[in-house]
């Protein structure tokens, strides 16, 4: 301690002794050592001087009239609070119990009479060192408290900023149950959910390696990509590619993010899932029928964009099915003896859920029972998603208010995709973006997205690829449909899908005409039940049945031309 040398002399020393001559001697000795001395003739004076003079060290005679040394010591120790002011008893007492009494009263040591200059000097120096060490430790502790307080404050602010970017989206939807610690972002866990413009949901759970600020910083671009892209209609694979590419660029080599992406389609009753490094997800179809969906990919932020595989696995589901996803924290929970909860714990909890218990509650309950804690660590995230009827799902609200008429009102645009691009590129976000430049359409982004995606999917799957939609409605056909889709896509040649947009401003609002034309064979639209039906009824498993019904419901008019490979949709919006 460098400061000790500078601090040793002069010290302010309070002495108290009722013997005037003894006091004179002690005072003289201490002054000779270079210290400043304040003196008292009894305990009461000593306590008063201690308050007014704030000495560094106190030397007290044990036996004094008018409050003896012991009592004065007790007062002084109380007054010094956190500060360590060494208190040395000067005494010619020799009985062990008397000496013990001095220590009990708060004395830090003894100095015996008669005085010995060398002993006095040694004692004062020794206790001064102790005082300085205590002060240094207290300062460090105070500094640490202060730093910690600041850190917590900063985390709080950072959390606020983070929440603005990485809001919980639609995690509060009635078909989602989840547990995520409020400060989990600093433990590296994230959980996001967003409704998709054309219906359905996207859910992402992630677990960054490492803790604290680095993990939180990594989480920001993930949140931004997820919510930004999900709202624009990008699919799960697009978003995964974007997140991976960003993380590879910004994270140090040894940091990455384990994650799952779930694309939920309530209408088709299917889940598209991607699991890179998180524990098995569980799809529960009934209390006894369940399957695990293990990680099949490397975590995000490791592979370069050209190596990254964002292929999602398609899983058929039924209303009422539940998907349980979790981060490592669930498996790593420990009981009092350090045993981990593990996969067995999860399996046990799910199996015990039975008929009447929600698997989320069963798992949470089992973790609580296992850890013996009501509150868990920050890095435990658990989410359970239930498949529901389309009607019960959340839809994007008309989020943006119509504020001004700024933006294009009279315009045309043609966009054509050809051959291999048909299989590789999803044009919907781009097309949606063009339309969203019109403020009046922006309010209707969900409807526009639905229209465009139905038109595009019909044109691609039934027009260009000539896939019969009946296949999709049987479990065997479902797999066949998707494997055939992939096969045919890879062989597409001489094909196109062309979108033409034409927007006009009207006195009452605006009119968007969308013509979608493809190079396929078309279909017999003259005899199509949905197009013939006066009532907009669910048409059953026929070609484009659901899609056409949806388009018909949203649009002012739907007209097919040529051999059925050209369709014109008129959509109107109002001020």
């Amino acid at each position: 301690m460098d400061e000790s040398a500078a601090e040793t002399i002069p010290l302010k020393i309070l002495i108290a002794d009722d013997s005037d001559s003894d006091r004179l001697i002690l005072k003289a000795i201490l002054k000779r050592l270079g210290h400043r001395v304040v003196d008292a003739a009894n305990g009461r004076e000593a306590v008063a001087l201690f308050q007014s003079e704030a000495p560094d060290i106190v030397l007290l005679d044990a036996l004094m009239p008018s409050m003896d040394g012991m009592e004065a010591a007790r007062h002084i120790k109380k007054l010094s609070c956190e500060r360590l002011v060494p208190l040395i008893f000067i005494t010619s007492l020799t009985e062990p119990e008397d000496l013990a009494g001095c220590l009990e009263a708060g004395g830090d040591g003894f100095l015996s009479k008669p005085y010995n200059r060398i002993m006095i000097e040694a004692k004062v120096n020794a206790f001064n060192r102790m005082r300085l060490m205590h002060r240094a430790l207290s300062n460090q502790r105070d500094l640490m408290h202060e730093r910690n307080r600041q850190l917590l404050k900063e985390q709080h602010i950072a959390r606020g900023v983070f929440d603005n970017v990485a809001h919980t989206g639609c995690l509060n939807a009635p078909n989602i149950r989840f547990h995520a610690s409020p400060l989990s972002v600093f433990s590296g866990d994230v959980l996001f959910a967003s409704p998709r413009p054309a219906g359905g949901m996207l859910v992402f759970a992630g677990d960054f390696t490492g803790h604290g600020l680095p993990a939180a910083i990594g989480a920001m671009p993930v949140a931004e990509s997820f919510y930004g892209m999900a709202g624009k209609g990008f699919n799960g694979a697009d978003i995964l590619r974007e997140i991976n590419q960003k993380l590879v660029r910004i994270l140090p080599k040894d940091m990455f993010c384990c994650g799952v992406m779930v694309e939920v389609d309530f209408a088709l009753n299917q889940l598209n899932i991607w699991n890179g490094g998180l524990p098995d997800m569980w799809l529960m179809r009934s209390p006894t029928e369940r399957s695990s969906l293990p990680s099949r990919h490397l975590p995000l932020g490791i592979l370069s964009p050209d190596q990254f595989n964002a292929d999602m696995e398609t899983v058929r589901s039924r209303p009422g099915d539940r998907l349980l996803l979790m981060t490592d924290g669930v498996l790593e929970c420990t009981d009092g003896e350090g045993q981990v909860f593990g996969e067995q714990g999860v399996r046990r909890a799910i199996e015990s859920a039975g008929l009447d218990r929600h698997p989320f509650d069963a798992l949470m309950g089992e973790i609580q029972r296992f850890t013996g804690q009501q509150k868990f660590g920050d890095d435990l995230t658990l989410c359970c998603l239930e498949m529901v009827e389309e009607a019960g799902q959340v839809v994007l609200p008309d989020a943006v208010e119509l504020s001004t008429l700024a933006g294009p009102t009279q315009w045309r645009s043609v966009y054509e995709l050809q051959d291999s691009t048909l299989g590789e590129f999803n044009p919907l976000p781009l097309l949606l973006h063009i339309c969203m430049e019109v403020p009046g359409l922006r309010r209707k982004s969900g409807e526009i997205y639905t229209l465009l995606s139905e038109l595009y999917n019909n044109a691609l799957e039934h027009g260009v690829l000539q896939l019969p939609s009946e296949w999709k409605y049987t479990p065997e056909g479902f797999d066949r449909y998707y494997s055939e889709r992939a096969k045919r896509l890879s062989r597409v040649k001489g094909h196109y899908i062309r979108f033409s947009f034409h927007h006009d401003l009207m006195a009452w609002g605006g009119r968007l005409r969308v013509v979608c034309e493809d190079s396929g064979e078309g279909f017999d639209f003259h005899n199509h039940p949905v197009l013939q039906a006066a009532e907009m009824a669910q048409s059953g498993p026929r070609y484009g049945g659901r899609g056409l019904a949806l388009i018909k419901r949203l649009a002012k008019s739907v007209q097919f031309y040529k051999k059925g490979n050209r369709v014109e949709v008129v959509y109107e919006w109002f001020f």
Binding site: T209, D254, S295, L298, I302
Partner: protein, 101 residues
Amino acid sequence: MPIETHRSRDGRSLTIKIEGRFDFSTHQAFRDAYEHGGRDVSGYVVDLSDATYLDSSALGMLLLLRDHAGGDSADIVIEKCNNDVRKILTISNFEQLFTIR
């Protein structure tokens, strides 16, 4: 020492053996092991026969080693993992990046 290294007779291969917990506490030692492993080393063997535990920061260290050893062209074998360790490597699909045996 939780980390021991030895080079093959021809000096081309460096074996790094980790004992006990392979986690953040071994970060510096693991780095030192491959950074000071010698210049003409062309292949690495990470021997986990005595590793009892592996966490995500250990996975990060393996990625650092991979980067050090040439990224996509790195020749790294991770061997003799116990079941728990193997499981962690499998969940993260690290067999796509390393030869695990």
